[in-house]
Symmetry: D2
Subunit: 376 residues, 4 copies
């Protein structure tokens, strides 16, 4: 693991997600950007000294030096965004499988280089757009794929948080600090942090490609360098329309990711804060409450579930499903067999690259006086 | 009453709203656009023959002929949109108080003429943007006015229906037919029918003025002449941002009008389908469920409520509150005294005119390649 | 109308319910138990002096004196409970149709006498157990009748309020005062006020008869003479089991009437505070959200609805449905034709008598050390 | 681990709960009641042969033979109920810490013997009443303890499932089979399986002791030997009243555990199926939505949470909290220091024994014609 040491939030989630199903073991790390904190973090997590490194370069070097059977199988990158590219590129080039946090990298050019490297080395590369790991999101995707909603017309996705309604980055909050620093976070604030999740959720569930968009970005909190509120109109290839809202200044809200997809045959709604439920509004019948684990769900949803209906699963379980997908792909590659696509289900480097192109298009649109900006 | 005869939907609602509180009595009418249906509708409602007219012009003539004490106090116009202007103008010019359905008229020029006429004759003129009649919407407005949400930053309003997901207008549905006919409905489809309600709700609750907007209108259903889906970004005077979505092709949805307003001190959410509740998310405390009739509501909300908390009030009651507001204004005018602003609370002709300008700006934006179109 | 004058709550609801659909007109009254207040109340409501009476006996006398065509069609009794019997009995004996509030009377003997009088005079007699007027309750009843839930096994009904969590009756609250006074309210407190509604709701929806019950009544608030909390186990004829909870000391709750009915083929849940929705959990399919006005509802539910789905109806509308049912029965009787059972749908004097026997059995059980007390 | 092998449900949950926080490692087992299945289950979970045993006696023997530092720290018992007593007793007598599933044992006499053994050997003994592990349940308990609800008056707890609405035990369902077999499950069906959870939840949150109860047990499904529906009235020491409902024949329901507690100052409601939320209805203020992870929660709730508000935690996380509590107690004992009571928070052997006495009293009451049966 690279990053995710003391003071980090998402590193702990990654570790719990990995631990849950017993398919991962943390054996080495370079857990922070400062050597002292990196080593202290590794010790606290029980890493042996020889695999607890002060910097990611030392980790890479050490792993390369080891015999193949003694190496890590996969490297998890959970640093602030600006380090994703160099670290991921270096490990991929060295032939390691990688799980990297989102957004993947800062520029489309970096994304392209990384996609090329992954292809060339044929490594497994997962991006932790974790919301696609929820069973009911997979159910939604299957319903769209099977045509149960008909032709998709309209998508509304909102990701509303309130934790950055005040200038938290000026009060010593580490999470807020790097996210609002262009050098670490890139040119996008709320857009990159949560808007990119919204984009991925739409792409995952609908399979639609954004053709062009029209965005309005705002930094409401005085002194903030990056957007904390992003709104945009979307036009998809094929004629569907959409709206994407991502905001971190909805004072008092927690983690309000909500998706609504309408097609000619019906509508579905899913809310991340009540993730075990997907509401299906058919065109010509009473709305149905689809719940995680129910026997009438599609196989992809059922297999993403651990326990019976009514026993809620949550964020960590969804996150763990992404890790299970990566593990299935790595095992399949190791065995030389094609992976079962339902098992080896995770957002790959292409999904990560698409997210980067999306962010670039939004930033361009926000600067433009033209209504529509194409997405590459 | 003009319009609202057999086959109409909203006319019946107006009559129930008027009946509920015993302050209105239906005494005369010209209830349909065809003389036979008009007369039959009036007979069915118990109008005496001499006040049951085949056309609105005959009604106007008859009322003008009567002695002041024998005239109607107020004329309700519930026709398709294209008749609002001539009918309303004629009655206002003749000195009658008017309640008119929304959207007020087709063009900003008509709106201006009507505003001028109302001012000149000093009549009471209400527009039945009925959603502002809900007690919890009035609570929301009061909270904004008193600064309980701080400075408003963000507004998201959605009005999603599904009833026009198929080409109902081709299947003999009278409601669908006139709404999708530009000659009767004007240039706006879903935009005029429900988008205008969304605009009014935002204006009512926040008091903010839209400075410019960027709209995308679509007619999804083949053969439909007017938009059935409208999405737009909003910029308000003073810097707040917003998103407005209005769609009638969300297959399976009913009447999903939802409002979220965020300010520096908190967020509120209100859903028309559960109208007795307003959720308040303060910046620094647990979310509060505000319910209709609760003792801690503001006076404007309490006075708009008839029965105790937990005994749900609904759409008709909210509609009736608009009528109560008009009645209070008429009574005040009759008594020569200033009306209590909490009692005489209703959307006036200026609100109607603002709605017309909004629609014009949206239609212009939808045709434009420029991102932002100013609202007059 | 008898009772329902100044300071009353439910009288106003009755008047609004009658006004809503234009089938009732208030023409005479004896609106309070004190002559001055009665007359003042009548004047405030616009009753002409000659039909505004200081006491119900004067009203009766006056109506009897009038020519048949000049008499009231129906008398509404909305007094405190202890007056229901003498007033209702007198008017029925005089041949008037009656609508009476619940619980019907104080004793099973009175109930029997009233039932006999109604039968003998063949008058229409409605009891305003208003919750059965909700469209979704009628949908639930139809689903049970048609066997859509299979054989009923289990019923849980709760009616929880909080308004009597403190000793409101000692603070000048008129509603609380008569309800907690055995002389006016009878031997039952929360049991009579709201437990009787719960009993009626169960009987209405399931058609089941309570065979025996086991009750625990408590007066939590110091100094209160009647129960403010009632819990009981129910055994129905045929083997179904049930639980009924009625409490007015659930501090902070409003009007939480909730019903759950389970049969061999599924379960339904309905909550009065969100009355436009009925959730249906089939044994072998995804739960369905049934909403008022939806085309797939049964005719009895559809006909009890005024406006389209998604436009909420509430408590007053449900109350008005009871009045519509009585009006349909009266009209049918007047025309000498059998009433359409879907139109003439209202709780009759038998339902009222059954409620009285239920209360008597609960009071007996509460005093008993035996587990099961039979219901007559 | 004893039990929890192939075909079991809860064993896997225990293992995931242990894995989540990295404080447990599965090192030895006797995972099924048949030797072959036991060994196969252990191999599938990666147990080394020498610690993978065909029967629990072999496991015990082997562990006792090992040097203290090489022994397991704690034994988890997840067998059908009838084995809890012999296995738990043997391991406790041998000085091992134990985590045992619920209900603890079959008889109060066994419970007493086990309590005595635990006291005598001073081992840590946890019972996996897992619902007390939810952060919002701990918040509820704290609110009661601190008097925020005032004096408790009323408790209503329901645990409704539908999975046994048909005779699943006759269709090869292993979970249903042992639960409905008196030899394995004891004298209680739904009562023992889920009613005992409801009892524990009430005791955990309120701290109240049941003084006497009045129960009605039914086996609705033909051919079923044990109750599948349990309803009872509760009287608590000190005067509070309650109702407990546990049913497994609510066709279509999933895992509906719901608690409502009312005191003189307010009411709280918690639903297991939406576990991240606790609704607080104060006597004199607007209802509050308390959400997991919010800064205004009590320390005991905050410490039971892993990730920020709005990122749902679920059943496994709550289960894991019970294991974290046991681990904290074991560590404290190992270090010779008193455990932090917030960390070392888990249902102990006394809670398990109380649950057994509760079940015995309910069974006695169900057979009795007397209304009230005291709880020992």
């Amino acid at each position: 693991m690279v990053g995710g040491g003391q003071g980090a939030f998402i590193g702990g989630v990654h570790r719990q997600a990995m631990a849950l199903d017993g398919q991962y073991e943390l054996v080495a790390g370079a857990l922070s950007s400062t050597p002292e904190r990196a080593l202290a973090s590794g010790r606290a997590l029980g890493l042996p000294d020889e695999r607890n490194h002060p910097a990611w370069q030392a980790l890479l070097e050490d792993e390369q030096r080891r015999a193949p059977g003694d190496r890590v199988d996969v490297v998890c990158i959970v640093t602030p965004n600006h380090l994703h590219f160099p670290v991921a590129k270096a490990f991929v080039d060295a032939g390691f499988h990688v799980v990297c946090d989102k957004p993947l990298v800062h520029t489309a050019a970096q994304a392209e280089a990384l996609v090329a490297a992954v292809r060339s080395r044929a490594t497994v590369f997962g991006v932790t757009y974790n919301y696609g790991g929820y069973p009911m999101v997979r159910q939604a995707r299957e319903m769209v794929r099977r045509g149960e909603l008909g032709e998709i017309r309209k998508v509304v996705v909102e990701y509303n948080q309130g934790w950055l309604a005040t200038r938290l980055e000026a009060e010593g909050n580490k999470q807020a600090a790097w996210r609002s620093d262009p050098a670490q976070s890139g040119g996008a604030g709320a857009l990159g942090d949560i808007g990119s999740h919204a984009e991925n959720l739409v792409a995952t569930v609908t399979g639609l490609h954004i053709e062009s968009l029209c965005a309005d970005l705002t930094a409401f909190v005085e002194g903030r360098a990056l957007d904390d509120d992003a709104n945009m109109l979307l036009r998809f290839q094929g004629g569907a329309r959409g709206v994407l809202v991502a905001s971190q200044v909805n004072a008092g809200l927690e983690n309000g990711l909500r998706l609504r997809v309408s097609g000619t045959l019906g509508t579905i709604e899913w809310w991340q804060e009540e993730p075990n439920r997907l509401t299906h509004f058919p065109l010509d019948a009473a709305p149905r409450l689809l719940t995680r684990g129910a026997p009438w769900l599609h196989e992809a949803a059922k297999r993403a579930s651990r326990i019976p209906p009514g026993h809620p699963e949550g964020f960590i379980e969804a996150f763990a499903n992404v890790y299970l997908g990566v593990a299935a792909a790595i095992r399949a590659q190791g065995s030389g067999q094609a992976a079962d696509p339902i098992d080896a289900d995770f957002p790959d480097v292409e999904a990560g690259a698409r997210g980067v192109r999306f962010i670039e298009a939004v930033l361009a649109s926000a600067r433009s006086t033209q209504k529509w900006t194409p997405v590459a």
